[in-house]
């Protein structure tokens, strides 16, 4: 079968799989929200709950349809979703689609840049460490990787702010743009992105560095690599073309599976650097029991994980067409 045919089948299978998955996830979420002890009306009122009479709370509950049976609420929500209506966010007093729309891009920008950076740095550093196994460079790289694996993201973030913003004054400590500016410029955003992206990439890449190092060390002992060396190929070709390439395949799947972790890392980075992304919004929606927003974000996160795995599997198929994954036979 051709490569594009295999890819098309993979995508079709996954899409067929994602619809029932989303139904199950959202139905479970409705059930959990109903079963949770948290009262969305109380959360909506916040501090005002203490000075709001029970009648007014009941009125709001009725206005939101929370007094209806669970199945009816779910079907109404589902029906609205099919017409493209995600409802109104209770904590933002805005349409959910707008709330997510104006923040999703910023999160994707930071996580996307962090993925690219961590891939590049992880591959390079992991390969160097493997190639110079036991050297001071190897010890430094693995040492830092173990240390960063153990350090919480927000702590690394605060240290980075302290060094680069407070002490050296090189980079802004937070925000999307300079606090004083009213508009969003590429230059400012780029400068403000440096610390969050670096911190996110640094905190998430330790497993990657260690994984690449192990795989390359393993591959360097394989017969085909030894053979390639024996044939007199240049070291760089041996390393990049043979050892690294064979080490990469399982790594792609691992990357797809690690996407949710990147999301949790993004939540912390967004909070430390006051970055206006969607991850922080998810926390706020959960704390406020802002159901319409939470439902949409859960939907989005599920789709992100499914897509992350799909991209990883697709890359796997592209990298090695002999691969057999779900949907490709």
């Amino acid at each position: 079968m051709s490569l594009s045919g295999a890819l098309a089948r993979l995508v079709a299978w996954r899409l067929a799989f994602v619809v029932p998955l989303l139904l199950v996830v959202t139905a479970a979420m409705f059930g959990l929200a109903k079963a949770s002890p948290f009262d969305p009306v109380r959360q909506y009122l916040g501090e005002r709950a203490l000075v709001t009479s029970p009648e007014i709370r009941e009125q709001i509950r009725a206005n939101w349809g929370l007094d209806r049976p669970l199945a009816e609420q779910y079907l109404t929500w589902l029906g609205n979703l099919l017409t493209g209506d995600l409802g109104e966010s209770r904590s933002f007093h805005r349409p959910v689609a707008e709330v997510i729309g104006e923040r999703l891009g910023w999160t994707m920008l930071v996580t996307g840049a962090a993925i690219v950076l961590m891939l590049a740095a992880g591959l390079v550093l992991g390969t160097i460490a493997a190639y110079r196994q036991g050297s001071w460079a190897d010890r430094l790289i693995t040492g830092v990787a173990y240390a960063s694996e153990a350090a919480p993201v927000f702590w690394i973030g605060l240290i980075a702010i302290w060094i680069f913003s407070v002490t050296l004054g090189w980079l802004p400590a937070g925000g999307l743009t300079d606090a004083g500016s009213a508009t969003v410029t590429v230059g400012e955003v780029a400068r403000h992105m440096i610390l969050p992206v670096a911190v996110l990439a640094f905190s998430q890449s330790s497993w990657l560095v260690l994984f690449v190092r192990e795989s390359v060390i393993g591959a360097l002992r394989e017969d085909f690599v030894i053979g390639a060396r024996a044939r007199g190929l240049r070291e760089r070709t041996v390393l990049a073309g043979h050892a690294l390439r064979s080490a990469l395949l399982p790594f792609l799947t691992l990357l797809g599976a690690r996407i949710p972790e990147l999301v949790t890392g993004a939540i912390l980075v967004e909070s430390v650097f006051s970055w206006p992304g969607v991850a922080g919004t998810a926390v706020r929606a959960a704390l406020a029991v802002d159901f319409p927003l939470l439902a949409a974000l859960t939907l989005l996160a599920t789709v992100a994980v499914v897509l992350g795995n799909l991209v990883a599997d697709a890359a796997y198929v592209i990298a090695d067409p002999r691969t057999r994954v779900l949907g490709v036979s």
Binding site: P37, R42, R57, W106, L109, L158, G174, V184, S274
Partner: protein
């Protein structure tokens, strides 16, 4: 592999292009305030700064630093007479979009708050209003359900233009994030999660502000806010006392500790065997080391509290006071006289009932947790066993009639605010209103009389007696009044600290930032 990389780069490029950047010159007269939370909405109808303090909106009246009312959109502060109150509007006021303000806008604003369909979080505060009418463009008439003296205090609500909101669903109105008001600053932009930018309203009826551009940056994390203040990115911010300590005595920076009516106290359930005994409550009130709470837990940013009405406000009864340091001898004497004798384990017992009760606190609130711990250790020293329970509000609510709770309330504006619901017997057990089932016919009378009487002197007498009776029966053990701590960069005149409310949405020290002037 190459294809994957190319894809990633293309996606990034696309995202960068999507953010539609526009270049703008940097401004020198920009003032950046770091706020601890983002606004839910900028629509006063839905609950944005109802007690004043929004730079975007004006109410009919506003407050001076001594909390007295002064005219704003109203020409003068009217007399309250029975159940109708008539405001005459200032002439020539326009909204930021140039349209004139009329009484229709005022009536629309209040009626929209009262409309149950709008789910306004502040509707309960306006329950005394029947409806608001606009008989002519300069006149607004409030019709009340019953005589309600604090109605003028409720007239600080920001006025919205009817034209931009009529017939819309307020839950999702574009106005909520792109507001148009009459205030000293006009809305420029809101980068969600990041900041709001405002610019001076040069044609403001109260005079153009000196600070031409005001940025409200949202930095929820206390440490991040302190760091960005230290890095010079913020010109002013609000901080917890401990985080603000590093800015004391730094040149060019000023730390303001502003008193508030925001108290923390122990609410006792009155219908329970242990906390229902006045001797237990009075002994606890005497045994609590309020000075230690202020010095250690609040890092000095607070005052001991002895009643529900804050010192520094006109309604405070100075006779209702106590000692900041504990008087354990007196506390023990009260317990002994009431028949609470020490048991074998050091816990006092009366008629077989041990002096033991549970004190709840919201688990996520570290300040209340520390106060609860302090209360428990102070109680232990006079033989009362206080068990702590850190819970979520939703778990706390159904238990309030049974277990004590660390609560926080307090408004400096009118003594009727909050106290009516907290102490009137008709509200016993209604949600967070009077959760301890406090009931005293004389207090009911005083509260009813206090809200119906317009005469200031008489009201003062009424609320003095109210405070005394609450003090004598001790349904609460008031612990501390908080101070709100601000750090401000630079030399300014016009900063007017005023006793602040429990709710932070009133602008705090920044409520009159349009009147700040750079000191020469």
């Amino acid at each position: 592999m190459k294809r994957v990389w190319a894809l990633a780069v293309a996606v990034l490029g696309l995202l960068a292009a999507c953010s539609a950047p526009v270049d703008a010159p940097a401004e020198d007269d920009t003032f950046v305030i770091g706020l601890s939370s983002e606004f839910d909405t900028l629509n006063p109808v839905l609950g944005h700064a109802p007690d004043g303090g929004s730079p975007l909106f004006d109410g009919l009246v506003s407050r001076a630093a001594d909390l007295s009312l002064r005219p704003a959109l109203a020409r003068e502060v009217p007399e309250v007479d029975g159940t109708t109150v008539t405001f005459r509007l200032r002439e020539g006021v326009t909204f930021h979009d140039g349209t004139p303000l009329t009484s229709e806008d005022v009536a629309f604003t209040y009626n929209a708050v009262l409309d149950p369909a709008n789910n306004s979080t502040i509707r309960g505060d306006y329950a005394a209003i029947e409806k608001v009418e606009a008989p002519d463009p300069q006149t607004v008439v409030f019709h009340l359900k019953h005589p309600y003296a604090p109605i003028l205090q409720r007239a600080t609500l920001g006025i919205v233009p009817k034209r931009l909101l009529e017939g819309q669903r307020l839950d999702a109105a574009a106005f909520n994030t792109r507001p148009v008001g009459t205030g000293p600053y006009r809305f420029v932009s809101w980068t969600p999660g990041d900041k709001i930018v405002l610019e001076a309203n040069e044609s403001y009826w109260g005079g153009a502000p000196e600070i031409k551009r005001l940025v409200l940056a949202f930095v929820p994390d206390d440490n991040a806010r302190a760091t960005r203040m230290a890095a010079g990115e913020l010109d002013a911010t609000v901080l917890p006392p401990k985080a603000a300590a590093r800015f004391e005595n730094q040149s060019g920076l000023h730390v303001h500790k502003v008193p508030s009516a925001d108290y923390r106290g122990v609410m006792f359930p009155m219908k329970q065997p242990v906390t229902g005994d006045a001797a237990i409550r009075k002994a606890l009130n005497l045994a609590i080391d309020r000075a230690a709470m202020v010095n250690t837990i609040l890092a000095g940013a607070g005052e001991p509290a002895f009643g529900p009405i804050a010192p520094g406000t006109p309604w405070h009864n100075p006779a209702v006071t106590g000692s900041a340091s504990p008087d354990r001898e007196q506390a023990v004497r009260i317990l002994e006289e009431a028949g609470w004798k020490p048991g074998p384990d050091g816990i006092r017992v009366k008629d077989g009932t041990p002096a033991r009760f549970t004190l709840m606190y919201p688990a996520g609130d570290s300040l209340r947790k520390e106060l609860a711990l302090a209360v428990a250790s102070d109680a232990r020293r006079i033989g009362i066993d206080v068990r702590l329970a850190g819970l979520d509000w939703d778990a706390i609510e159904p238990r309030m009639a049974k277990d004590a709770l660390i609560m926080g309330y307090g408004s400096p504006y009118d003594p009727d605010y909050v106290n009516y619901e907290l102490f009137h017997s008709s509200y016993a057990g209604q949600g967070f209103f009077n959760p301890g089932h406090f009931s005293d016919p004389r207090v009911d009378e005083l509260l009813e009389h206090g809200r119906a009487t317009a005469d200031e002197k008489e009201r003062k007498h009424v609320y003095d007696e109210f405070q005394q009776r609450v003090h004598d029966q001790a349904p609460w053990a008031y612990l501390v009044y908080l101070k709100h701590v601000y750090v401000i960069r630079g030399e300014w005149t016009g900063i007017e600290p005023a006793v602040e409310a429990h709710e932070h949405a009133t602008g705090g020290l920044f409520r009159n930032i349009h009147q700040w002037k750079r000191a020469a």
